[in-house]
Symmetry: C2
Subunit: 406 residues, 2 copies
């Protein structure tokens, strides 16, 4: 059960068609192949995992995206198998699937990007997938229902589909942004996330799609963690179909677009945490008055990734000691413990080198009954701030990961 997950409803995006099918890669018979077909002239940007053992489709998608300068016509995704740790054969197979899509759609093979998520180390069922590609291409439809089905089709250990939209007005034109994300474990993205796709009908130049994506990712998908583990298959894509209003950073409307994109991507990133493996709490770690944003991020992640903090959260235990331990283990040069304050939601718990004088076990226990918890840390060193989002560490996390074969 996701923790307080409420997403605004999704709508379709002019210029984006989607289709799904159950090819049999997943053993439970649910959809495991998804195709997005984009209007000619669409511009796509992406960020990908920095894991050295990145999956074959990541290698292929980066090459294709770069050689096409963002002129992409289709994205092909499979769930149930990560096509990672599969050597040169994995790259060959991913490229063959792109060719099959290109053949059916009538475009260059490099205008197709492949994505995989699921079990690592096993070969993709190559022929099985190839057999389903023509029907996928033929079935692609521009509709809200098709996008919603796609959001379900990319799921692995997720318990719900994560899809949402924002609409803004640019002059007299409406611009739509619709995005989806998947992922529930192996989540500490580094310049990317498990899988996230955001589509807009705006017309935007390649370099500006890149800038908008990177700006939004930095405070959303690069600010979440479930378990500190960076996946081999992370990818986050932004596709602008160009069917609607033209936008550029020089335009007065650009900040409105960037803001809408930031908010949508933050919602989708937080949705991953709210649906994280075994999550019973959604935890925001807000670090303020840091000397740099990098310092704030380090402290935020030290708290968010600490197994002892996460198990205390699971127990609804206002364990101040573990919060201090986690802040202190970063070893920030110049940090003065006597200047640090810590709040849990609205309750001050630590101040002046010791527990806050008004803090009591009873108050700590009361505030921790909430399912949304904000730990606010003031470092007293400067003017920068950064928030990081995480889940707790529960028995269900252990059960899920002791049973699921990544």
């Amino acid at each position: 059960m996701p923790v307080n997950l409420r997403l605004p409803e999704a709508v379709s995006v002019p210029g984006v068609k989607a289709s799904t099918c159950a090819a049999g890669i997943k053993s439970n018979g649910t959809d495991d192949m998804v195709l997005f077909a984009l209007e000619p002239g669409s511009v796509t940007a992406g960020v990908f995992t920095q894991n050295t053992f990145c999956a074959a489709p990541v290698t292929v998608a980066k090459q294709h995206l770069s050689s096409q300068h963002g002129q992409i016509r289709a994205l092909l995704i499979n769930s149930g198998n990560a096509n990672a740790g599969t050597g040169h054969d994995g790259v060959t197979v991913a490229t063959e699937h792109c060719a099959a899509v290109a053949n059916a759609l009538g475009c260059d093979v490099e205008a197709v990007l492949p994505y995989s998520t699921g079990v690592i180390g096993e070969p993709l069922p190559n022929q099985l997938m190839k057999d389903h590609i023509p029907q996928l291409v033929a079935a692609a439809t521009e509709s809200t229902a098709a996008l919603q089905q796609a959001a379900r089709g990319i799921m692995t250990t997720d318990t719900v589909a994560k899809i949402s939209s924002k609409q803004i007005t640019i002059g007299d034109q409406q611009v739509t942004l619709t995005g989806m994300s998947k992922g529930a474990g192996m989540i500490e993205p580094n310049m990317a996330t498990m899988l996230a796709y955001v589509f807009t009908d705006a017309a935007i130049a390649e370099k500006d799609v890149n800038t908008a994506l990177k700006t939004a990712v930095d405070q959303s998908f690069n600010a979440i963690t479930v378990d500190s583990d960076t996946s081999t298959n992370d990818a986050c894509m932004l596709c602008a179909t160009g069917v609607g209003a033209t936008l550029a950073p020089s335009s007065e409307h650009w900040p409105v677009f960037q803001q809408a994109l930031n908010e949508l991507m933050l919602l989708l990133a937080q949705a991953i945490i709210r649906d994280a493996e075994g999550a019973t709490k959604f935890i925001t770690v807000s670090v303020e008055e840091g000397a740099s944003q990098a310092d704030c991020r380090k402290v935020g992640y030290a708290i968010a990734n600490s197994p002892l903090v996460k198990t205390a959260m699971f127990a609804s235990d206002a364990n101040v000691g573990r919060l201090l331990m986690a802040i202190g283990k970063v070893g920030l040069p110049g940090l003065d413990p006597y200047q640090v304050t810590v709040n849990i939601n609205d309750l001050p718990v630590f101040d002046g080198g010791q527990l806050h004088p008004d803090y009591t076990e009873a108050r700590g226990s009361e505030v921790m009954q909430a399912t949304d918890i904000t730990v606010s840390v003031n470092l007293g060193m400067g003017n920068e701030r950064m928030s990081v989002y995480t889940s707790d560490l529960s028995h269900d996390y252990v059960t899920i990961n002791a049973e699921y074969r990544t």
Copy 2:
């Protein structure tokens, strides 16, 4: 139940007296104060936690050790309360306890070092502890039984006392090394461990005691992790009473002493992992052919701290994908996935960018039935190596840490 923990028996050390009592700091009535009294002329070296929120006794012990140039007469330890996050009052109290010991023993206050371990953020029961100090000093005895009782007295979530000895022959003299350690959670020491005390009757100069300690710590207490969390109270001490044979690095016998110390400290560090919170497996991550020892350490800790690797270990799942993910997330410059090999115990599981051709699920499952697991990673980049030791992540780890108030 510790995982395959077998320690050679401990013996007493000439020049070291110990005593314990149950002052009532721990609610369960077991021993919670320990005193070690050292022969005049003893030389002590120590390494301490690098956590910025280090506990008051760490601050005091470092000051005293430095101002005395290692000429220490007594170590006072309490369990059940960490005296951390207790502000200036915490430092005052720790110093008062040193003064009480010094008064009873007839030495300088700075010749006494204080240590605490247990709950963070609560004030020490000052008067209660002071009241018990005279009897502790009076009861100190040079015996094996007293050392064994001390090893129990420093325990918190440990399930067994961890104490062992080594004896070596230097010319015609026997030299004894006896050490003890405690700790089962909040364990990723950084230049130190939870608490470890090693005593020897050898006569060694201050700088040489320091060198010997740091050398031994690097491959033992600085190579273990339970949960990636660095405690506020870590300390690892080496005390040489000088009652026995004289030793210096220039002596032909020094390597024998250093080797014995290394082996003893590795045993004690590994004992912490074998008794780690909820541990069902003892895991050695052996990283070979690295470009540097630092690289090997990074890869070792990335695997050892990965919640996904640790839950797979708990499930006896030979999850190669998670091992690759953990190696890859380090982002070692120049690492070529096609050059990396991975073995689990004697079974080759990954080679040439993909699963080893002889690997089968059945073989993986068979090798994972062992309780002692060695993951060997060959990076194919150089000639350095490093081993890191860790435990798995089980339901009991979550239960213990959702219930225990650090």
